[in-house]
């Protein structure tokens, strides 16, 4: 498995501002993903973070709202832009070590937007 850390672990933000969430892995990984989990809901994939190229977004999610970077094989960031209370959620990154492998999840970032 991999040890995954996320920063910040939680934050309270004002409407209209942006927050960047970091995901750091202790080893090189093949794929990195970003999910969100709204209160009382299941997890939904936002995008796949591709190393050295633009992220691949799922239907309903756009780069302007959730810009993602992945500068190397151990690190990725997700920015939640121009936040509204509807963005209040837990944001989780996950990784796979190989293509045909399990996804391992970080501890999540709990975001509250006022």
């Amino acid at each position: 498995s991999a040890v995954i850390s996320q920063k910040p672990s939680r934050d309270i933000c004002q409407r209209g501002t942006s927050l960047t969430i970091q995901c750091q892995v202790d080893s090189q990984v093949t794929m990195m993903f970003w999910y969100h989990q709204q209160p009382g809901q299941s997890l939904t994939l936002i995008a796949t973070a591709n190393q050295g190229s633009e992220a691949t977004y799922e239907s309903g999610f756009v780069i302007d709202k959730f810009p993602i970077s992945r500068p190397n094989l151990t690190f990725s960031t997700l920015t939640v832009s121009n936040m509204s209370p509807e963005d209040s959620s837990i944001y989780l990154c996950s990784v796979t070590l190989d293509l045909a492998d399990t996804q391992y999840f970080g501890p999540g970032t709990r975001l509250t937007v006022l």
Binding site: S42, L43, T44, S94, L99, A100, T102, F105, G106, P107
Partner: protein, 116 residues
């Protein structure tokens, strides 16, 4: 479209009793199948997975799951529940695209409460 159904939103069992959490999926071929557990305020921890082979898979913490192709099910079981098993359990599938796992599709989760 692929989907995962966990019909039980909330289950309460007594400590020491057996447990079965249901999961059904909708997918044209056999996907990769997973069970994750999420304790309050925690991230997701993998309990077990099925990729191929023996349809009864063993996981951590005494959990097991059985893949039944004819029923499109992957139910999670534990013979004797401990108070520490109280958590939310998520079934997930990953479409099998040439051996690559991506885009996990999660069920809505089952919240397990354990009575003393």
């Amino acid at each position: 479209a692929q989907s995962v159904t966990q019909p039980d939103i909330h289950i309460t069992v007594s400590e020491g009793a057996s447990l079965e959490l249901r999961c059904n999926y909708s997918y044209g071929a056999t996907p990769y199948l997973f069970w994750y557990v999420q304790s309050p305020g925690q991230g997701l921890q993998l309990l077990l997975k099925y990729f191929s082979g023996d349809t009864l898979v063993q996981g951590i913490k005494g959990f097991e799951a059985e893949f039944k192709r004819s029923q499109s099910s992957f139910n999670l079981r534990k013979p004797s529940v401990h108070w520490s098993d109280a958590a939310e359990y998520f079934c997930a599938v990953a479409p099998n695209y040439g051996g690559a796992t991506n885009k996990l599709i999660f069920g809505t989760g089952t919240l397990l409460a354990v009575q003393p």
